[in-house]
Symmetry: C3
Subunit: 326 residues, 3 copies
């Protein structure tokens, strides 16, 4: 690491790569280049295993475009070095080719969305700072939603009309099946890898390794959040396939890591509070899946943003020293 | 009352009951245990008359769960004693069994929603305090919406898919009928009792008695708001059945009481301003009913929250001493 | 002008007319009575050419009702004189008869909506002032949306149920056609006149004349924004008819003028930033058109409000002196 840091000090290119790697780590709140490298490896593995090289390319394009926009906008140096201006662009670039077919126009829109995600981050941060919370992935969610909705109206991005009447099928709830261990473990791991929009076991393990490298508590809360999400979704009777694909778990995983380790000092009261927030994020994910079905729009990490904001706003009430009163 | 207060001072159990009663009164902004008791009687009567004991049980469960959560979160003592942490949980508990079938999973969700309503109240209050307004029933609306939407995706809560294509029928507007006095009076009273999700005349009178006990102005504004809401909904040509069931009037009643008595000192200018807000709440209620029909989602008291926030935010402009300029 | 100002100083009626004219100019951020007069002429021409005198009448009614409400609410004198309390009411009054059939009830709702738009402006301004941005046309959008949605539930305003299943047709994208110069120029001009809800070439020229009279930069940014909007919508493959009718361009025009001239000092970095915001407003307009299609609800200028807020919130980053860091 020291060699790397010395290299960065001496080379603008290495410094730029360092910012990109840290930006990748910031998707799960980690400011560490090696964590970012492992995350990138996980993304690459997940994309290539699914024969979706466009997703990897889009992610890199978004990451670079967002970072260059941040440089052009002369953002604060500390935030830039920590990768805070890159993670939303990376997610925009992973999401758009996941839902839309690759084309030159799509890549233009990835660059546009990534650039706007930086503006949105600056704006959101200005608003939320006053309440002691950060912007999380709200800039990614906002810009990606607008681009995905607009794609229905633009022939250059596909232009198929949305379903409107909705496409919710009759439920085949997991709760009615005997609990299948393989599906359960798969659901837990995919809940972690779906943070980067892919259900892939090897990727999940790489993500966990990257997390553990930078913060063992974060890795623990990620696994705990995934376990809790899969269990509660199962008990509530969610669709088996959604649960085992990790599609009800990625937002809760982020909530668990955010509430448990990043913004609060860990401890038992914090863990219980984070568990409450994690379970409610499962509810919010299911709710938003239903609400956006008529528009054929994915909820993305909006449930994480909503629930984490909700649970962070009353921040002062969870100090473990018993002085939680305002 | 003095005996009661002495009793509360000496007994933790009585104190807890006092908090629960005041929490019930806070649904209509009253910090008074007897008002809460009359409200509870009204809720019980309305639930039992409709053969919906589950609604009464849910309401009590939500009230207790929210109050215990507030204790666990070590909220401020003054707000706790005034019942400010209970009313949202009570409403969550009344609403969920109104729209979903009773089951152990439903009760678990009532407790979850009530607990989250406390978190949401603390968070919302932190945000809105800066603008001089309070959280109102926003925490109830938010948590209940998410749970009702999620119920479509969870077999344990029913799991029926939402209508999506909407279910608005052709209008049979009240305006086309001769004005029927019984329907009119029924609409006015039900507009008051629907604040607690039931259309029941006896309940409405109990609510009014409870209000009058604590604040005669509040009772007057409630009746005035209901009269105005029913009249304007009728004149605008709303569906007869909705009007006489009080379903377009409960949000306006809350707006009238909030704008007229709680946050502003009453007076003629305030009354005219409250009347404007009340009529616009009828519009907002109709609008949200339409907007949420495809999701089969009730608007709950969201129109009240929206319009009361809207009309409270420019607060400084209504002092009756003529010094209303900033 | 000096004669006019002396006349205003001596006559309450002329002063009131001055406020109305400035209120009209404020739709495009201009505080100038002659600009307002030219805008009114453009509105009148557009309405009468389309045989829609009701739109002109509604606009005037909304403008007067909003201004009288502001007087009754004793708003600040400076804002009142500058017409800041009139433009939202004018737009409410132009929009409602554009989408609903004229009737006495409609005029009552124009007056109601215009009055509420003043309350909403005061409230929104109180909230957004803390972040250094203004309310823009958010009060118009909010009140008009609620009234248009409510119209589906009120026989007195029409009472037809909304489409719900949506009405997006297969795209006939402009991009597949050879670029037709007449359609292109028409799209540019209509993008300007649609700010006031009419696609009319003469009106567009009158609007430009009014703008240029008060601020040549504003006129330039309006034309530049319209060019950019039509070009990018075309390249993205938007429906030809929407593009040439200016229906994807009016929000971007407002964004361009707002970002380019009103809130930032112009310059090359500002121009590039405004261009980014303008193109993204095209995306947001298309996105909201899709999202609201099931409710049969027009997006109005919501894309402008959203994108301009988004791009104004990080304000401090665009000073041309290179000291843009926080």
């Amino acid at each position: 690491m020291q060699t790397w840091e010395r290299g960065c000090a001496g080379s603008a290119l290495l410094r730029f790569i360092d910012i990109l790697l840290r930006g990748t780590g910031q998707v799960m709140f980690q400011n560490h280049p090696l964590t970012g490298l492992l995350f990138l490896a996980a993304i690459a593995w997940g994309a290539l295993a699914a024969d979706a090289g466009a997703v990897l390319f889009g992610g890199l394009l978004g990451l670079v475009a967002a970072t260059l926009t941040a440089l052009w906008l002369r953002v604060d140096a500390a935030g830039l070095s920590a990768g805070l201006y890159g993670y939303n662009g990376l997610l925009v670039g992973l999401a758009l080719p996941t839902f839309l077919a690759p084309s030159p126009m799509l890549w233009a829109c990835v660059a546009l969305g990534a650039a706007v995600s930086v503006v949105a981050l600056l704006g959101t941060a200005n608003v939320t700072r006053g309440w002691g919370v950060s912007a999380l992935t709200f800039p990614f969610v906002l810009t990606t939603w607008l681009l995905l909705l607009a794609a229905y109206a633009f022939a250059g991005l596909g232009g198929e009309p949305p379903p409107f009447a909705g496409e919710l099928e009759a439920l085949e709830p997991a709760a009615s099946n005997p609990l299948d261990l393989a599906a359960f473990v798969g659901g837990v791991l995919h809940s972690i890898s779906q943070v980067f929009l892919k259900g892939n076991t090897v990727s999940a393990l790489l993500f966990l390794a990257g997390l553990a490298l930078s913060s063992r508590a974060a890795a623990l809360f990620a696994v705990g959040g995934a376990l809790l999400a899969v269990t509660s979704a199962h008990l509530l009777g969610a669709e088996s396939e959604l649960v085992s694909a990790g599609l009800l778990g990625f937002s809760p995983v982020l909530t668990a890591v955010a509430l448990g380790t990043v913004f609060y000092r860990p401890g038992w009261r914090v863990a219980a509070y984070a568990a409450l927030g994690t379970v409610f994020t499962v509810v919010a994910q299911a709710a938003m899946n239903v609400a956006f079905a008529p528009l054929g729009l994915p909820a993305l990490t909006a449930p994480f943003v909503l629930c984490t904001w909700l649970f962070l706003l009353p921040q002062q009430h969870l100090q473990d020293d018993g002085n939680g009163r305002r």
